[in-house]
């Protein structure tokens, strides 16, 4: 079929193209540029090729050691966060009322933690957990649990994880609740008639119908927890030692603390790449594990 060739359509795309170019592509290219060079200040740059990347992946160097250690910390943190927040969010969503005034009340209460700025969340927990003046820290120490997130690694981790669960489980719960609300009543009635147990209703109806929102929840929570910076920085500052120093904290130390722009640029590129790859894996696995969604239709 003959099509009229009309290149004017390109002009419609142009504004978006420019915005994306200036907001994403050009800054990213700057980072790519930095990642290949070394600087000693005074705006003097020296070509370094893929040197930084080699160092980054070699645990025997200072840069590589720091990167890999913080990477494992980050992956562990994200895994723990997902393992707690996703099931907990589902349980919260399932136990929420489905109608009446209490729905609005629940939604508002759940939304509250999401409305608090990261920095404030960090500050709240930092004070909350202090053994001398914080409610949590004081109570724990008085009932005989020696809790101090400043000096004890385990306590620091526990604080950061509980804080994140407190802050973000609501998001998973709200998404799941939306998914649950979209299930027509006929499904529950049919399940009743089919004699399905509560567990069967969950596995046969609710979980499959929440598949989509759960994917979104997992992606959002993974990305967010993998990029976490503010809250642990405010609460523990990455300590004690380096025990809660995540990649983002390490990155800021290198870029702004030491002003090693080359190393920092290389690190941020790899960091970015990891997030994209892990998200892609989650997406592929979850869309395929559920069911073949958009397969060929038409059998009768």
């Amino acid at each position: 079929m003959d099509k009229t060739v009309n290149q004017k359509a390109w002009f419609l795309v142009l504004p978006v193209f420019l915005v994306v170019a200036f907001s994403a592509v050009l800054p990213l290219m700057t980072v790519v540029n930095y990642s290949m060079q070394d600087t000693f200040g005074n705006n003097q740059f020296f070509w370094n090729g893929v040197g930084w990347f080699k160092e980054l992946l070699d645990p025997s160097t200072d840069l590589g050691g720091r990167f890999l250690a913080s990477l494992w910390r980050n992956l562990f943190f994200s895994a723990v966060i997902l393992a707690i927040e996703v099931p907990l969010g589902i349980v919260v969503a399932l136990s929420m009322p489905r109608q009446g005034w209490s729905v609005a009340a629940c939604l508002v209460i759940l939304a509250l933690p999401l409305l608090i700025p990261w920095n404030v969340v960090g500050t709240i927990w930092q004070i909350f957990g202090r053994p001398d003046i914080g409610l949590l820290g004081y109570v724990l120490n008085n009932i005989g649990i020696n809790y101090n997130y400043v000096s004890n690694e385990f306590d620091a981790w526990a604080t950061v994880i509980v804080m994140d669960v407190w802050h973000w489980t609501s998001l998973v719960a709200l998404l799941c609740y939306a998914g649950l609300k979209s299930i027509p009543d006929a499904y529950y009635q049919a399940a009743q008639i089919d004699g399905a147990s509560r567990w069967a209703v969950f596995t046969a109806i609710q979980l499959p119908k929440m598949n989509r929102v759960l994917l979104i929840a997992v992606l959002l929570r993974f990305m967010d927890s993998f990029m976490i910076y503010t809250e642990p920085f405010v609460v523990t500052g990455g300590g004690p030692g380096n025990s809660t120093t995540f990649i983002s904290i390490e990155l800021v130390k290198i870029a702004l603390g030491q002003f090693d722009l080359g190393k920092a640029a290389a690190l941020s590129l790899v960091y970015n790449l990891i997030i994209i790859i892990v998200c892609w894996i989650f997406y592929t696995v979850m869309t395929n594990a559920g069911v073949e969604h958009r397969g060929n239709k038409g059998v009768a």
């Binding site: 008639i193 089919d194 399905a196 499959p208 069911v291 073949e292």
Partner: protein, 360 residues
């Protein structure tokens, strides 16, 4: 497998204290025999789905009782009632295969695996689902999904009744015919009591042995398709069943005569005992009124248009203020504006306040 008795059953969604006129289902008492095919027919909002949900236990009645084989099951939950129901929109368990979907109601009730497999194979065979048994149910078309829903309703052999809530709404017209005759065949093959809710008279009349016509929360007539056609108990039934519906016109009835628009029609029976002050109407199906050339002995009518249905033609006419439909005899050429109407006296019915009056 059960006889179903409804005893003075009524329901209001705003509770028992609501005004009797506002009840979604007004008190009804009737018996449905084991193995029958019943249709609940009526327009949207007539209470037919409410009645169905009362039987399945999704809704608990405000008043009255439901008996299965004489046992009061009103307080029982849906699970304990031994009822199967197919809904308007297909309900499919997405993650399961077609076979697992069909087996689900049996599996939940702890039926032995061998028995499940045999029954699933039988039902799948009846519904032509055999080739899809091991496929994921989610990828199928709407009508295949609805077949699975039907199958899940039919798979239990011990159910008291299978209820259908407008199950063919989402199905393409051509497939509707197929599925409907399939249902009819299934009913013959499986000896299950089936109750079918619909607002489509063709669906009701072709499926059911007994059609229960509902209007405004009331059961207005329950009978075979022929009874509904020949002797509508309520003007609503006359109007709702048949296409075009029954002609209902106000008339003065005295003895064996009815006067419409100054003209007298002979009646087959005597109607001397009509209640005083009631609104009297006569009803006659278009099939029993013939258009003829205007004549002195005939009721004259103004012709508005002719509907040619191919096999049969109907004249839409006006008698005084009343609209009328009448059959055009084959080969008769219709006059341009005025025609006479010939009534088949045996099929002219008299209604007092919309209810059929039996003449003597």
């Amino acid at each position: 497998m059960a006889r179903i008795d409804l005893v003075d059953l009524a329901h209001s969604y705003s509770g028992n204290a609501a005004a009797p006129e506002s009840f979604a289902l007004k008190p009804v008492t009737m018996t449905w025999r084991q193995g029958g095919a019943y249709a609940l027919l009526g327009p949207s909002g007539c209470g037919k789905t409410t009645l169905l949900n009362l039987i399945s236990g999704i809704v608990t009645p405000s008043r009255g009782k439901i008996l299965f084989d004489g046992t009061d099951i009103t307080p029982l939950s849906t699970q304990k009632r031994n009822i199967a129901q197919v809904f308007q929109f297909p309900v499919i368990y997405d993650t399961m295969t077609v076979g697992q979907n069909l087996a689900f109601p049996l599996k939940n009730r702890g039926v032995p695996k061998a028995e499940i497999d045999a029954r699933v194979a039988e039902i799948a065979g009846l519904l032509d689902l055999k080739p899809y048994l091991s496929r994921k149910a989610q990828r199928l078309t709407a009508d295949a999904k609805q077949k699975i829903s039907l199958g899940r309703g039919l798979v239990r052999s011990d159910v008291a009744a299978v209820l259908f809530d407008e199950p063919l709404t989402v199905i393409d017209p051509e497939l509707k015919w197929q599925l409907r005759s399939k249902l009819k065949a299934l009913h013959r093959a499986l000896d299950l009591t089936m109750i079918y809710v619909t607002h489509d008279q063709t669906e009701a009349l072709t499926f059911a042995d007994t059609v229960v016509v509902m209007h405004d929360g009331r059961v207005v007539q329950s009978g075979t398709p022929a009874e509904l056609f020949d002797k509508p108990a309520h003007t609503f039934v006359g109007y709702f069943i048949g296409s075009p519906g029954m002609n209902i016109v106000p008339a003065e009835v005295r003895g064996r005569e009815a006067r419409i628009d100054g003209h007298t029609i002979r009646l087959d029976r005597n109607y001397d005992g009509l209640p005083k002050g009631a609104k009297i109407e006569i009803g006659v199906r278009p099939e029993f009124v013939d258009v003829a050339a205007p004549g002195s002995g005939l009721l004259s009518a103004n012709i508005e248009r002719i509907d040619d249905l191919g096999r049969i033609r109907f004249a839409r006419v006006r008698v005084g203020d009343a609209k009328f439909a009448a059959r055009v005899p084959a080969g008769f050429s219709v006059p341009d504006n005025v025609a006479g109407l010939v009534f088949d006296a045996a099929h002219v019915h008299v209604y007092a306040d919309s209810l059929l009056v039996e003449g003597t």
